[in-house]
Symmetry: none
């Protein structure tokens, strides 16, 4: 027979009580597990069970924090947004013409995905299942949402060229996304090369690009 004495909140001092602390820990553990699982299996293929397993918690516990896979994904998205948004805002506020904004924003974006790489895993190894299907994780989706919003803000403020802004946004996003991806796939990762390429292409087009091999 054993007697267990628990003192769950044994102090007056400020800070989260043990209760709140564990709650935060669990919430974090679930988010971390979800990030890993989404990255490894892809969002759709991942199951709540996968996340729970990774967590080590009891299955019921998951539902004390999130009601479904979708909800965890939303939380993940919010997390990314919260970290990326101020960075992009800073770029907007610093920039005084479109060129400088573009340069700053693209570099900020590239830096961000480099930093996140360690959270997300190498990209999409689950492409094995079907080589033609690109799978996004909620985090990746969130990043694009953010930069899209940022670009729109700038364009709507009239800072950019006076062109079809919807098309322009779409194009910028496409370039950033795809070049960013290639950048991550290379070793070593060369942010400057990728950013210069993207910015130059968008600003001056292919015709003004520096020759790669001045044969």
């Amino acid at each position: 027979m054993s007697v267990t004495l628990l003192f769950p909140d044994a102090g007056d001092e400020a800070g989260p009580g043990k209760r709140e602390q564990t709650k935060a820990q669990n919430r974090d553990a679930i988010l971390k597990a979800a990030r890993a699982v989404f990255s490894e299996l892809g969002y759709e293929a991942a199951s709540v069970r996968d996340i729970i397993r990774r967590t080590g918690l009891a299955s019921g516990t998951f539902y004390n924090y999130y009601r479904s896979k979708e909800e965890v994904a939303k939380a993940l998205v919010a997390d990314v947004a919260q970290r990326l948004r101020p960075i992009l805002r800073a770029q907007r506020e610093q920039a005084h013409d479109f060129e400088s904004y573009l340069n700053g924003a693209i570099r900020a974006y590239f830096q961000f995905i480099i930093d996140e790489l360690r959270n997300w895993g190498p990209g999409r190894p689950r492409g094995d299942r079907n080589p033609y299907i690109k799978v996004q994780t909620p985090g990746q989706g969130a990043v694009f949402e953010e930069i899209q919003a940022s670009i729109n803000l700038v364009l709507e403020l009239g800072l950019g060229p006076r062109v079809d802004t919807e098309f322009l946004t779409a194009a910028l996003i496409g370039v950033a996304q795809n070049i960013g991806e290639k950048m991550l796939a290379r070793d070593p990762i060369d942010l400057d090369a990728a950013a210069d390429f993207a910015v130059n292409l968008i600003l001056h087009g292919v015709s003004a690009m520096p020759r790669r091999h001045p044969a």
Copy 2:
């Protein structure tokens, strides 16, 4: 003793037997249902059962034609490739400089996805499930594979500008994909506007773009 005369295929005008006919019909029905289901639910979320239900056939019948969801997807991909490839090849063969190739290829691609629109559904209405996750159908994946291959061919032949071809391909694909998508979402669909925008952007960059609203 009896003499039996069989005329199993009595003439050139004879069509396929009833058996072959219904077989072809079923195969088609399954492909059509799969296309619709993939488009509505996304490839990963779609289940074989969903496809079967859409088909109206008995569940066992599906397996007389395809062994799995993956196999139907492959068939869908092959179908797209088979239709898109000759078009892109023609563009490559006609073009004598990068500008003309780019123009032709982008228009061909835009035309193709306009034609396919009715097969693919309006884009991705299954974003309801998670608005941050872009889901590709096998068909869409196949299209990108094809144009990527086409671009690579051209760039490797030295027709294009002498820049980092991997980055360039990535950027072109990104621009085409995202602008194409916006084009489809507009009503009326204006291929010329979209193609002009994309081609100009890539060739001369934002700086040389015509003003949209010469206010």
Copy 3:
């Protein structure tokens, strides 16, 4: 601040918690159902679904306890082995010549299958399906394994006659199995008659058998 006193296992007389109790009950229910189903349908013909149905539990519950039909069978086998093995060991240790061992082992075996009768059902009523095919349940298979092992031990120790031990074991098993079966089919069950017959036959052969009907 709060003090929580937990008495998770407060004493020797405390039984298992309700959770553990129902778990044990379920495990037992599954085993019992499996025994019945194997006995009625035969091992191969029995499906996991059959066992589940018999159980009254939800289908998923089965898989909380066993991963497959094979696993339940293994549990059944282990159960039989655990109960039969010590009995046979005792016989071996008591016996000082082959005759006494044989007598003890056969009686022990016959007694065991009489006791198990209520678990196994009457033998193989599923012969309806095909009267020529004898079907064994995992339990029956386990019993034969055990007595075979026991006989082999004795023979290898040199206690038995110095003959081809593989053949001898095979013959003993065959006699015990088939006479035991006939014994169970009779009403009333007469263990002594069956055991005497089997032991005498093996020891002295048909020539020395007592006449049945001294007409």
Copy 4:
């Protein structure tokens, strides 16, 4: 366009017409396939589909000859019975005492299963699935039925010792079955050794057995 001329029964001469011939061929092919499949997979695990596949015929054709797996099994059983029965009958008629009958019958049985070995495969390789479960093919079941019937005939005629004939039959069958099995498993197969062992055991019991290794 092709014209096919078939002369399915082009003659008056006796013998089966092509029609009957193909019918017999198909029937045979099915039986042969069934034998092989039962032997490889076990009776229960074998499916009608397995048999059909092995046959090369169309699935529908099977049902023109047999209505189910059970029916093919019955046909297989009848076939074995038809071949084994006269052999055993001859033994009965030749024998004038129990000893000679037993000797003849056991040898006949052993010879038969040696001959059939090539039809049945090596015994039961599908024991992998569950090592405790012995699986019988319909053919094997049929053989035991036959020799059991033969023994019963002899015993009921009063030729054998006046003992409990049901028990005696059971014991004989058990010995013959198990020793026969061991005989088949050895290389080289030694019919005489096995038969001598079995006959001696039954007639005189273990006490009178010749020592194996007169150390």
